[in-house]
Amino acid sequence: MNWLDKIFLIVLLMSSFSIGAKGPKGSFGLKQVKVNSYITPKKFWAKVVEQANYAKSLHVFVEGKSTPILTHQTDFPEDNFKEAFVLKFVTSPRYYLYTTWNKGAHSERVIIFELMGAVKKIVFEHVSSWPVSFKVTDKFITINATSEMNLLTGTPKKVDLIWKPKTTSGSGP
């Protein structure tokens, strides 16, 4: 083996290790909503790709892997991706992804995914007529959504939705 080849091999090996440390190009780190300190967070990366017909698709990666564990495309290209958080509850070993999407003029769609390997599974979906906020506890998540506008007062009716993960045995991604 030539000494030049050896150096080349070493460089190749080094680069192969460094690939796993970060997400792919153009991706951003997903924040985990921390409830308790004992939860050991896995690092997730996300990437929003705009396609030729302006439809947006969200790709989620786990640290150390180059293939996405989740891909989701919007029904309408006008609907934009807004934000995403990783959720982890005490009651289940799995990770969940909380995402919000713009819909229409001022509505918002909330989708919660279960992050299982290579299979897309929508656990929760709701369309709120106005923007949404949420609060997380150890065991469940409350989503503060709104329904139609009260025409007399000028404020919409509030709807608080609670979602709990099913207690099932199994490992995450």
């Binding site: 017909n53 302006y54 309408f76 290209p77 006008e78 609907d79 934009n80 807004k82 713009n102 819909k103 229409g104 003029a105 001022h106 509505s107 369309v127 709120s128 007529s129 106005w130 923007p131 906020s133 329904s147 139609e148 506008m149 009260n150 025409l151 007399l152 007062t153 000028g154 404020t155 919409p156």
Partner: protein, 519 residues
């Protein structure tokens, strides 16, 4: 193979480019196409329209928007914030002096005008696009023809000189014939192009003398290559020539498209409403032909464009929901009417008495703490959030005609933010955005109700029921004054119109008594 390619690039394409640079230098003295185009552009855009509503210009609108944001950030609780914002509007809203009915009246009037304007604009833009396509195809065909002619002439010349002797010239000789090539392009291309394609374009430059066949040895070199290489060179030459003539082609297209605008008045209002993708090309041909045939008008189109338009007139643009038509903001669905738009406005701004300058309650709901940025910036009659506004702008489904758009970029985020701020106090802009966004939605689904639902609401809500009631009300109370029916359906106090006094009955003069017969 690669050596041959490099030779080709050095000895055929580079000198061609150089020739065009030479042209540019020679032409600038006499005729500068870019300058004239710019002048025409400026003429076409016309006087710059300011965004004015209620006598307040667009610069003050931005301050208005920012002032409220300051109030939101300064207030300590949500309740106080809402009170402060409502007080601000009571004092400074541009429509504070108008009553509810006056507001409805104004909105109805402007919606009526806007609908007419947008439908007209749609017909004009689509017609202009089809004319543009036709002209471009024509120009490309002409250039193809001429390039073929040149090469066939060269081929003939080449046969006589080169193939009989069987000699091949060394490639260095190519540069010697640089001037010859330039001359050929002068004669064959420029004169023939203008005579055939754009006879009406003013020729201020001096044409070169034409006539004699120019035979040079450049072509011996060129034809000695294989046919594959020749084709690549030919296509590149075609592209270069098209680029060179592009300003002239654009000029000709602009002249043709400008003529369409006055023709829209020739179509009746009823016909204008129906014009969908099936009728669009037919309407365009009708307008162009009416303009062409009218003797009092001086507007004339070339025979070729008329022929091509006639061929195209029977073809439809396809379904509304096709990818191309859905993205086309100038194609309006016949179900997107002023009534539908007003019914949406009723749902959105009834609680604020139709004041388009109010922000909604979410403005006081901040994302992180009280000092954070507002949760959503939806405001006005359209109640559109900034994200969906910017998304629509970037895709090109929200072009704006109510302001001078030439200063703003479709793609840039900062420009779109500025426009969004301006929308906070311009009712015209809000209406237009509502029209266009709803149109996009309705086209995508094909039904009005589905489009309205996807505009902003959940399926389960009362929104649909209220909307249907409102539309039924408009159907029931049709009157010659659209404002009257709008006031009735949107809950204003009806206007008492003074009816014209009935004409007094003509009193016949009493019959004259017959003279009695004397006995």
């Amino acid at each position: 193979m690669y050596k041959d390619l490099s030779k080709l690039i050095v000895f055929t394409i580079l000198p061609l480019l150089a020739t065009q640079a030479g042209y540019a230098l020679t032409m600038t003295a006499a005729f500068n196409p870019n300058k004239t185009l710019r002048a025409i552009n400026n003429q076409m855009s016309g006087p710059q329209a300011n965004c004015q509503t209620g006598g307040i210009t667009s610069t003050s609108l931005l301050n208005h928007f920012d002032a409220i944001r300051k109030i939101v950030r300064a207030s300590t609780s949500r309740g106080r914030c809402q009170r402060a914002v409502t007080n601000y509007y009571r004092q400074k809203s541009m429509w504070k002096d108008f009553s509810k009915t006056q507001r409805i009246q104004f909105i109805a009037q402007s919606a009526m005008e806007l609908e007419k304007k947008l439908r007209n604009e749609g017909i004009i833009k689509n017609c202009q696009q089809s004319i543009r396509d036709i002209e471009q195809i024509r120009a490309k065909k002409l250039i193809d023809k001429m390039v073929k002619k040149i090469f066939s002439a060269a081929y003939k010349a080449d046969k006589k000189y080169d193939y009989k002797s069987g000699q091949r010239l060394p490639s260095k000789h190519f540069l010697k014939y640089y001037d010859d090539l330039r001359e050929i392009f002068n004669r064959f291309m420029r004169d023939q192009f203008f005579e055939a394609y754009a006879p009406n374009v003013p020729k201020t430059f001096t044409p070169l003398p034409s006539g004699k066949k120019v035979r040079s040895r450049i072509y011996q070199e060129f034809w000695s290559y294989t046919s594959f290489h020749r084709k690549t060179v030919e296509s590149k030459i075609k592209e270069e020539i098209y680029k060179y003539f592009e300003p002239f082609i654009e000029l000709n297209i602009k002249r043709a498209t400008q003529k369409v605008e006055p023709g829209v008045a020739l179509i009746s209002d009823k016909q204008r409403k129906i014009v969908g993708p099936q009728m669009m090309n037919g309407a365009c041909y009708e307008i162009v032909k009416k303009l062409h045939d009218n003797r009092s008008n001086k507007i004339k189109f070339s025979a070729n464009t008329l022929k091509m338009l006639k061929k195209k007139s029977s073809k439809s643009l396809g379904r509304y929901s096709s990818f191309k038509n859905k993205r086309n903001p100038y194609l309006f669905h016949h179900k997107v009417t002023k009534e539908a738009v007003l019914c949406i406005i009723k749902q959105e701004t009834q609680s604020t008495d139709f004041d388009p300058h109010t922000l909604n309650y979410t403005f006081c709901q901040t994302a992180i703490g009280r000092r954070g940025s507002p949760k959503s910036l939806a405001h006005g009659m359209a109640q559109m959030t900034r994200d969906s506004f910017v998304g629509g702008r970037k895709m090109g489904i929200l072009p704006l005609t109510s302001i001078d758009e030439s200063k703003f970029d479709h793609g840039s985020q900062s420009d779109n933010f500025k426009l969004f701020k301006m929308m906070a106090s311009s009712s015209d802009m809000q209406l237009e955005v509502l029209f266009r966004f709803l149109n996009n939605r309705v086209k995508a689904f094909g039904k009005l109700m589905k489009g309205v639902i996807s505009y902003d609401q959940d399926r389960k809500s009362k929104y649909t029921r209220n909307f249907k009631r409102c539309m039924a009300c408009f159907k029931k109370n049709k009157s010659s004054y659209f404002e009257d029916s709008a006031i009735k359906c949107m809950g204003g106090t009806p206007i008492v119109r003074t009816r014209p006094t009935p004409r007094p009955k003509r009193k016949h003069p009493p019959p004259t008594p017959r003279p009695r017969k004397r006995k």
